[in-house]
Symmetry: D3
Subunit: 163 residues, 6 copies
């Protein structure tokens, strides 16, 4: 039980860019778990609109009030990164039933890769179910208003970079 109290959770993703949906999951997970690592998975084959460094800076900014949250980045498999960080729980935000099968397969695989690595799912707040990074990117490319989708810091960064 002593170990239990030290549970470290990992919330991994692309965060390209971080959205209000991400922030909501982070805030809620930070209340549930003693320590939460938010980590940007760098994937060589995707072309992000923000560099990994930019995304880390934005996540640090919007999470600055959450003292048990740290921001990291990693390459390779999420399960391996969790193990190296001592995280025993993967946190996933799920918005709709379409995501479910994908998450279930991922949870099963991660447990096969690293024994005892649990995946827990936090259902997205109804107010944020429609938000995704890809929607932000699409709106940005058309000059649409993203202020209801991302924190001001993120919007500013995107405005500076793309207009």
């Amino acid at each position: 039980m002593a170990l239990t109290k030290e549970t470290t959770a990992l919330y991994a993703g692309s965060f390209d860019p971080p959205t209000y949906g991400h922030l909501n999951i982070i805030e809620r997970a930070a209340k549930i778990f003693p320590k939460l690592i938010v980590a940007i998975g760098s994937s060589a084959d995707k072309k992000p609109i923000l560099t990994c460094e930019e995304r880390m800076e934005l996540l640090r900014g919007i999470c600055s009030g959450l003292q048990n949250v740290s921001i990291e980045s990693y390459n390779g498999l999420t399960a391996n990164f969790a193990m190296h960080q001592g995280a025993s729980v993967l946190v996933r935000g799920v918005r709709n039933s379409n995501d479910w099968s994908y998450e279930l397969a991922g949870a099963t695989m991660n447990q096969k890769l690293v024994e005892d690595l649990e995946t827990i799912i936090i259902p997205a707040n109804q107010s944020y179910c429609h938000i995704s990074s890809s929607l932000v990117r699409e709106l940005t490319s058309h000059g649409g208003d993203i202020s209801s989708l991302v924190p001001p810091l993120v919007r500013q960064k995107i405005t500076d970079k793309f207009t």
Copy 2:
């Protein structure tokens, strides 16, 4: 953060009877949270095959090795019971995408009833996705073998009571 470490989680259900699926969720939640309350919700209108007392006894038996788990029962709304027990997290096991919409509505409602009451979902282990209490009851009514579905203690109780 001190408060976070004391997170109490509540896993509520009918447990009529408790299955290997329930036990799996209990064991995994007991590793994630410092304290886990497993609680039988008594509903006047359902006719269970096991009394609430029988179900509590069985849950106590199959959870006897889990020191941070306590067994309770309650009437009324799960959210109210959680509040009274000081539980800030509801644990739900989900087996398939059909359950998702139901769980999402429940999570939203419970957060409206008791502010800051979080719901987290643990995806059922693939080996237990087909198990439900209703399947156990159906097999029992036809004299089918339930040994792959429930712990020996539960099977013994059902055998004693129904054959």
Copy 3:
């Protein structure tokens, strides 16, 4: 095209009781269609918590500001009632993907029963996706707070009747 402008839509249901979810669909459908009939389908085998008359009175009350909405009740098949009322469109509110298959089957059947009877689906507002009459009834039976689920008029009626 002259006929098109006269399109009458029918929004049928049990409304036991009417909820904020129903009201939201009614308000939105009333903006889309020149005339909207809201109709309570009486089914002999269900035991409603409110009589058909009580539900009609409540619907009249909460829709009093909507001049192109009329409240009716009917027995038998919805498709037949639509035909008799001159409604060419059935309006359905859908909350989640689980409802989808059910609605699709209903839309197909209704078109077979009454040719040219169209079904259109209005996706529930995210703020109301968790609301259902059965949730209201369940909360009512446990003395839970339903003020976020139903208009004040409905809550008052239920309070008067059940407490």
Copy 4:
């Protein structure tokens, strides 16, 4: 209510190429709404098999008997185009439950971008549920028979262009 009678609906898509499924939604929406705009959204990053002009010509051809339907094209956000055209309703055809979550997110976002912009969903006729433009393109690339999927005018155009 006077305004209601003037409801203009917008059915936007890629229509690359237009299919019997599209035509079915157009015909049904044209019966429901006084005015229907069918609009081709031009997206710079996709490589269509037909130019925007070719698709507009085909849509004009297959909709020639529908007097309240006009054919347009646009760049940028659908919600903005709807606003500029005075359309208050977006029409979407949905074939299966997988599409549902996507459409729900889109409906929510479009209402945030343009207040009072409603989305209504017309469930695809069962006879057309399997039809999609991508299926037509795939069959075309393999020399398969597309005559059950697209109107003769479309098939002729594709035959002329690709064989």
Copy 5:
């Protein structure tokens, strides 16, 4: 391989009443498998509108042209009946994604009860996706036209019995 050629398949259900949807699955399964048993599962707790004998008679009538199909009835578990009949394959008709999770759990359980008992799913023909016995019963109770849902023999029986 010799054994394979003798594959006997079992299509079990309530058939209360048999529909065009059932008949379509039977006809297709009878083309795939050398021998097909269509079996009515009698369940004590349901109150069918047709007796088991009436349903057997109807199934015999509508399957009279299919020489490799036999009609049976059984009590108890479907898996046990399959074993006793020497059937190695359970045939299931599935109409939509909602049914999927239910069928998957059933397939898993049946394979645990009787080793090597396979379940194969035949996707319902699009023209019959909306048909279910419960829809037929509902229409019958309201005097609706069921001629598009059931074969003439079944409609005649229901007309004779209920009008």
Copy 6:
């Protein structure tokens, strides 16, 4: 009925690479049908990690104990290949409800292309539901352990080729 006994089934896919999930479907289909063709569909636009020849060699290796299974490859439409091979049944493995709509559309289209071509679905064994070729490719690219996902022969080939 004589024809029925000769039923040839076709299991087509990319098999890039073949997985334990594929092998499970092959073994089960080989027990159900007298003759099973496993066929690699070559698609010009995809960039496989294994050549068609390598995949055929692997499939021949892992299916060497199944005497009624033959390995083929084809270009063009699966339905056409089935017809040319005399296969009257397409076998599909389905892992989750998300796949369902896609498979239903495919089954409908294939029956329109080649009359009497049936599609049957074998639900994936729960132990293999999380396995997909794309997961294997992703793990391979990160140096992850794929031994629980593919037969030893496949793992060896991938190890030889990519490390």
